[in-house]
């Protein structure tokens, strides 16, 4: 029989061979021709952990940290891997419902695609982090990542420091080569933004091998592919935190700005824009809410008026006007002008505060008395300078001076989006009046810091620096040095170490200006404002503007003989420069120079801090906003009540009629309430727009108040039309 079936032995062997060949073919298919399994294995097992470096810290001039880092945790999800997640328990932990969960998932998938890890819940509280950490194994696709978050121990300098925020898709598009990833944080404003590359450091990536329960088994390939995180470098600024705090306090409840610069270095000692906000509001979990509120706020707390606000400088411009005329050799310090209460040489009347003869008998006197006529005349002399044949060329020369002094140009401070304010170009006047149809008379009020001239508070402070330094300045800046400074950092700092010599007039010229400004503090407009133990120079300003009450301005530097600080203060719609801006500037100088405020003056600090000078329009806006909020709460409560009633009534017996009636009733409620609060909608639309004007100040209107001549008034109007 065995002989009979011998051939079957071959068949059996062939069957064996056949199956093995099939297996080998499948092995070739799996191991050689499919690359996806290799990827899948890596995705399974290799856990890439991004090690965020500590962001650099920003110090003030006394090496106090203005901001610090703390650790916070984010819940990150990769939607495509989260299929098996225990949604219910996750929702319970995060205290959201499943609808919210689905909504967020949809948003994430829509915004960031399903395959990339994106933040599901940012900045978890410690307690929530602990709970989630214990339960992470239930949520495949979810991860907890730590990151450092800013805290601000002094609660100060929000607009200067800026904030960091998660990068969005447009940011990623703009910074493609910088290696940002979804979920990274980057500086979005202020110094955080300007010095982003210095502060961010270098991210490290660590690769771990993880097991089927996502437990880390050890480094992948002994860390061969790991890159270490390099901490961001620290910034050392010239800011004095205490001065900054004081300035913020003094400007509280006002709209305005203050800038203090060390004229010797250009380092900014304090920069305040009011209203401002607590920088800690933009970290932590309430960030989104606070940011929304601030962006909608009509007083614009996010808007840094110190570098973006455009204000007519008013009388604070006069020292500069004098310096220009002196440098051009048009006047000498002894030049005098007979003023009897107004300047009439141009047909228009420019009023002056003083009538007594001889109050402008010299430059020093004219400055001390802030004589409008004197400086109108000086301005006209500059424009009609016979050297330049016609007023257009004269004006161009004058404008050139202005630009050299940093007016009408950006100074290139180390904050983003600085505004250059405005020293109008000739084309502006050509358009307004026609080519060669304007002269020194037409633009007369430029000479007293009005007309179309505007300046930012920082420009005014810088102007003070130049005058204090007798002709040179360093570009205003915050950052004096960077930790472990490298060659590349010259991009940031070289420009701040270069001395800009504006003019080379003799000392005597500046001495006259200094003396005049000193006299202001002795018997002039600022005579009531003292800085204990310090002789200082100042100029007040009361700028007319189209948005209501005059702006209160004050520029100063101190000490007189060896200037260490130059300050510019503006309080919007607050009246005379000496009433509000003056004392604020004085306190800033005192704090910086004496390191403390004299005990008997602290009361005054409190008085100024509490004084509420916010324009009524803005206050009204707040009131209405609050009313709307209250009404909304009330209506919601009403609606809920009505609903409850409807339900209870429905359950008793009459079904259809009641259920229809009661919602109708609640709608009536809404209408009634809207009648109680009539101009909700109006206030919303008009007020913010109104406010926008007041802070951007296209001050064409200013002129009209001076131009008594009807024809000219008409001209201006026509030109506007």
């Amino acid at each position: 029989m065995s002989v009979f079936n011998q051939s079957r032995s071959r068949v059996v062997q062939i069957i064996f061979l056949l199956i093995f060949v099939v297996i080998l073919i499948q092995l070739i298919n799996l191991q050689i021709f499919s690359s996806k399994y290799k990827l899948a294995a890596e995705n399974n097992a290799i856990y890439r952990k991004i090690v965020y470096p500590d962001r650099g810290i920003i110090f003030d001039r006394k090496k106090k940290a203005m901001l610090e880092n703390t650790i916070s945790y984010d819940l990150v999800v990769t939607p495509i891997e989260s299929k098996g997640a225990d949604t219910l328990s996750l929702c319970a932990l995060l205290n959201i419902d499943t609808a919210e969960y689905k909504k967020r998932m949809r948003e994430i998938v829509f915004k960031y695609t399903a395959v990339k890890p994106s933040v599901f819940e940012a900045l978890l509280s410690q307690e929530l982090y602990a709970k989630l950490y214990e339960n992470m194994y239930k949520f495949p696709g979810f991860n907890l990542t730590d990151r450092s978050v800013r805290t601000y121990p002094f609660n100060t300098g929000a607009q200067v420091l800026g904030y960091i925020a998660e990068v969005d898709t447009s940011f990623l598009r703009r910074h493609k080569e910088d290696g940002y990833e979804m979920g990274d944080y980057a500086g979005m404003n202020g110094l955080e933004r300007t010095y982003e590359k210095v502060l961010m450091g270098e991210r490290g990536i660590k690769r771990f091998v993880r097991d089927n329960k996502s437990r880390i088994q050890g480094a992948y390939e002994n860390g061969m592919f790991d890159t270490t995180a390099v901490a961001g470098r620290n910034l050392y600024t010239s800011v004095d935190v205490e001065v900054q705090q004081l300035a913020e306090k003094l400007l509280a409840n006002k709209i305005g700005s203050a800038v203090a610069i060390n004229p010797k270095t250009g380092g900014i000692i304090a920069m305040v824009s009011s209203p401002n906000y607590n920088p800690n509001d933009l970290t932590g979990s309430a960030r989104r809410k606070n940011l929304g509120r601030m962006l909608l706020d009509t007083a614009r707390p996010m808007f840094n008026r110190a570098i973006k606000g455009q204000y007519p400088p008013g009388s604070t411009f006069k020292p500069l006007g004098a310096v220009i005329a002196l440098d051009e050799g048009l006047i000498t310090p002894d030049y005098g002008f007979p003023c009897y209460g107004s300047y009439t040489n141009c047909g228009v009347i420019v009023k002056c505060e003083h009538k007594n003869a001889g109050h402008a008998a010299s430059l020093r006197l004219a400055l001390a008395n802030s004589c409008n006529s004197y400086f109108s005349q000086v301005f006209r002399m500059a424009i009609d300078n016979p050297e330049y044949h016609n007023s257009t060329l004269g004006y161009l020369k004058w404008k050139d001076y202005m630009n050299k002094f940093g007016m009408g140009t950006t100074l290139d401070v180390d904050l983003p989006s600085e505004n250059k304010a405005s020293v109008p170009d000739t084309s502006v006047y050509n358009r307004a009046y026609g080519r060669n149809r304007w002269n020194s008379c037409t633009i007369l009020t430029l000479g007293i810091g009005q007309d179309k001239m505007t300046a930012t508070p920082m420009q005014l402070a810088n102007m003070m620096c130049i005058i204090a330094n007798k002709g040179y300045y360093y570009t205003p800046h915050f950052v004096d040095s960077i930790e472990h400074e490298q060659r590349d950092d010259t991009v940031y700092l070289a420009k701040y170490r270069k001395k800009h010599s504006v003019i080379h007039t003799s000392d005597t010229v500046f001495r006259a200006v200094h003396d005049g400004m000193h006299d202001v503090t002795v018997y002039g407009t600022a005579s009531a404002i003292k800085v204990p133990g310090v002789e200082y120079c100042a100029k007040t300003g009361t700028a007319q503007n189209p948005h209501g009450k005059n702006h209160s301005l004050f520029v100063c530097f101190a000490p007189k003989d060896n200037p260490k600080i130059a300050v510019a203060v503006i309080v919007e719609n607050a009246g005379y420069g000496s009433t509000w801006a003056g004392p604020i500037g004085a306190f800033i100088m005192e704090k910086y120079l004496n390191d403390t405020i004299a005990a008997d003056r602290l009361e005054e600090v409190e008085r100024i801090s509490k004084a509420d000078l916010i324009p009524t329009a803005i206050k009204d806006w707040y009131v209405k906003k609050e009313n709307q909020r209250q009404a909304k709460i009330f209506l919601e409560a009403e609606a809920a009540k009505a609903e409850r009633e409807a339900e209870s009534k429905q359950s008793t017996n009459d079904e259809e009629e009641n259920s229809e009636k009661i919602p109708l009733g609640s709608e009536k409620n809404i209408e009634q309430l809207e009648m109680i609060l009539p101009d909700n909608k109006n206030s919303k639309s008009t007020l913010p727009a109104n406010k926008k004007d007041s802070s951007k100040k296209k001050s064409t209107n200013t002129t009209t108040t001076y131009m008594i001549d009807d024809n000219k008034k008409w001209l201006v109007k026509k030109s506007k039309a």
């Binding site: 029989m1 032995s9 059996v12 064996f16 092995l27 799996l30 294995a41 890596e42 091998v209 097991d211």
Partner: protein
Amino acid sequence: MSTRNIFVSKGVDWTIVTLYAILVGIGILCIFMVEYRSGTNWLQLFLGGKTNYSKQLIFAGVCTLVATFILLADSKLFTAFANLTYVFGILLMLATFVIGKDIKGSRSWIALGGGFNLQPAELCKIFTALALAKYLSMQNLDFSKKRSQLIAVGIVLLPALLARLQHETGLALVYLSFFIAMYREGLPAEILVIGISFGALVVATLIVDPNILAITLTLIAAILIYILRRQIKRNSRLLMIIVATWAICVGIQRFAVPYIFNNVFECYQSQRIYSAVGKDYDCTQNKHNKSEIAAGLKGSFKPDDYNVRQSKIAIGSGGFSGRGFLKGTQTRGKYVPEQHTDFIFTSLGEAFGFIGCAIFLMIYLFLLFRIVNIAERQRSTFSRVYAYSVASILFFHIAVNVCMTIGLFPIIGIALPLISYGGSSLLTFTVLIFILLRLDADRQMVLR
């Protein structure tokens, strides 16, 4: 006796012993790869005997002992006790229904005490092989007769049935491998052809849409009738056969297969088979699942191809030359379930890639061919049938296990011979192979 003891090695096929030793060595290495954790002192653990690879080494030692005893034994012993051990094995299997111990959901184990458990269905493979050999080597047996064929099939299928009743589907299927041995002894080839056709039809049913498959079958039948119309005219029975075959095929495809999947198989089994052909099985149609739901249990709905997916990832990530010894992340991360037992092949595939797998499979193939050669050189039918049984069992285990890990076969619990971790599995194959070697050493004797 004494002379034989001195020459115990005489006539032993050392090639097979060497292959055996190599495979057991590879097995321990693979288990070591699965168990290894970086940073642990593996030598200490190894010597401590707590880890699976050291346990497997101990098992290997025990097996060496057992193998020596077998080689020392008289080959007449096996023929003499063949029927007795078979009966004993069947009784043991029956006993499990009474005193069985529940391990991983199947009551197929008997506790031996001291933490050791015995799986009678595993042992029964040896007994069945011996019993089949004994039956087929009966002097007055004519295997071409239907009756003797049925008895032989009965001998094989009885333990298979019992194993199935113990929910050990994998072990039950192994008994099908005896058909290869029986085929060699003269079982009609038609049975194999019909079996393979049935398998092909079931797979086709799963893959192809039922209506399209029915139309295809009808077309094939019609074309056959057209081609064979001459013969049909002469012999009308041919037509009958074709029509009957067609009816059976369509019947299987339409009713039998869905019935089996919905009513005979458990939900997870249906799912595994479906997922092996890359399809999802809807568990709501499953009778077992329905009754589970009716009984208030959760029931299973989700198709779960995690095992096979991870297994394929592990093997696939090995690439051509592998990721290197102890470098495989799938193995280190324990992504493949049951990797030290049923999925041991994955650790090999990941670490040594296609080259390693091919060499490994060649060793197996060489072993199988060697056994077939040995079988053919036997003078006694008993030895030959037994040798073919061993080859078939080994082949079936290897083929099913490897196909399962590379996604060509549904997942069933079948160990990779001599490689997978587990004392009883290793012992069973050792005994199987060394009985063969003992018989082969005495091939000059005529055994009945």
